[in-house]
Amino acid sequence: MQGLEDLYREIILDHYKNPRNSGTLEVPPAHQADGYNPLCGDEISIYVNYDGERITDIKNSGQGCSISRSSASLMTNAVKGKTIAEARETIKTFKRLLLLDEEGEKSEPVEIDLRKLGELAALQGVSKFPARIKCATLAWNTFTQIVDELDLQIDGAND
């Protein structure tokens, strides 16, 4: 059996108790996406300010368990200041960390440089608790909606 410490690393508990980037941004100019987990009722809204090059600000609000809330907090930290391409790369790495492919399906472990991941690495233990993977991915899937939207806009602008 997996120990609780695998799941609830100190960093996770810290982000749960002291959430970063929590709140809302004015829409527009901010982009907003909402996600929820119908299984457990967790809800999240993500707000992103994008200046055409980088994510200049990101906030999240919602309710959920420690895994879902801390994952949102960690994610906002991880992608703030990034370009869309960099943010996509971060999403991909996060999914690999949870042994998921880009579609979110279960995949074989891929070598990841945990040092490059920084605090995000704390979420690795979640992969051993299948029932909690949906909690950890909620914020990320919601954020992906915004990234997709921004990508479309960028494509549109290049036409």
Partner: protein, 414 residues
Amino acid sequence: MTEVLIDNHIDVAKVRSDFPIFANNPGLHYLDSGASSQRPSMVLEAMENYYRFHHANVHRGVYRLAEEATELYESARERIGRFIGATHPGRETIFSKNSTEALNLVANSLGRGFLRQGDKVVITKMEHHANIVPWQMLAQYIGIQVEFIDVDDEGELIIDDLERIVDGAKVVSLTLTSNVLGTVTPFTGIAQVAKAAGAIVVGDASQFVPHRQIDVKSIGADLIAFTGHKMFGPTGIGVLWGRSELLDQMPPFLGGGDMISDVRLDGFVANELPYKFEAGTPPIAEAIGLGAAVDYMNSIGMDAIESHDREISRLAYEKVKGAFGDEIKIFGPSDPSKRSGCLSFELEGVHPHDVAQVLDQNLVNVRAGHHCAKPLMRHLGVAATARASFHIYNDEADVDALVDALKETRNFFI
């Protein structure tokens, strides 16, 4: 099976020895029977025996095996029908896949045969989705109006104004026991008022039948749904009971084999009860398994099962409340004698999922989530609760394990 009563009290250790899951999972504190109970060997054996010695399709063959299978299937129906007090057990006991399908049968059949645009159907805010969504679907398809009996802070239905609420209603459909709050509703009283207003009364007895004796004749309902897997039976089998006069008038739900007495190119004639509502090859082994589950409950006695439910509901409420006081919010009646089956709670500062996770590490299995009752969750102002639910194989030691694990949870997160 062993003798399981001592002075009319359930001997939990002996009951456990009837349920192989406990020998196979040492140390398990299974507190999720509200979602699905465990099964005694008797049920498993009845099903295996059927498959090994008597399987054939029912109602069709003239050969010996087919007759044996039919006999086992129909005998299960009779015993289940008698168990709930049906006047005509063989005609009024309809097998379905579960409560959900039974309630969908009711809504669809009444929707086709009895309800028109603008008709009022009254349900309550504490229903399981299975008794909400089928009516909402009728609202979408034929324009019925769904109205709700409200719930107070004690988790009880607000019925001061019942005459007005059910006035003109064509159907009143409600649960006998809330799967979230543990509230036992004043079903019979509500049924009387609803009947006086001319409504068809439907009861969702999914959480009631596993713990309390039901007498469908006297409870005031026209239709009652329940589900096998919460009462020691297998999954894939549920029951709709109905008064035969009403069932006779209701149009069939699913069409196909077995539910017809004749089919021509220009139409069909529906079969008689109960087959009219059992289209296709039924879940034969599951029905036989549920028959054995009912035999098991009878062998213990519904009186003993009910006193055990009352005792453990009270114990759980008092011990959890006693250990955590204001740090825990317990949903539902604060008078333990009004509770049955479960204890839903919110431990201050800890999300129910995290509660369930830490409890799992202590082999305490509880459910966290919305329990398929989202309107009730919204009403309570929470997204989810943790719920411990009980059955005859649970005792004080399980409640103590719950309390200890909750203390550990609190220390971990706070």
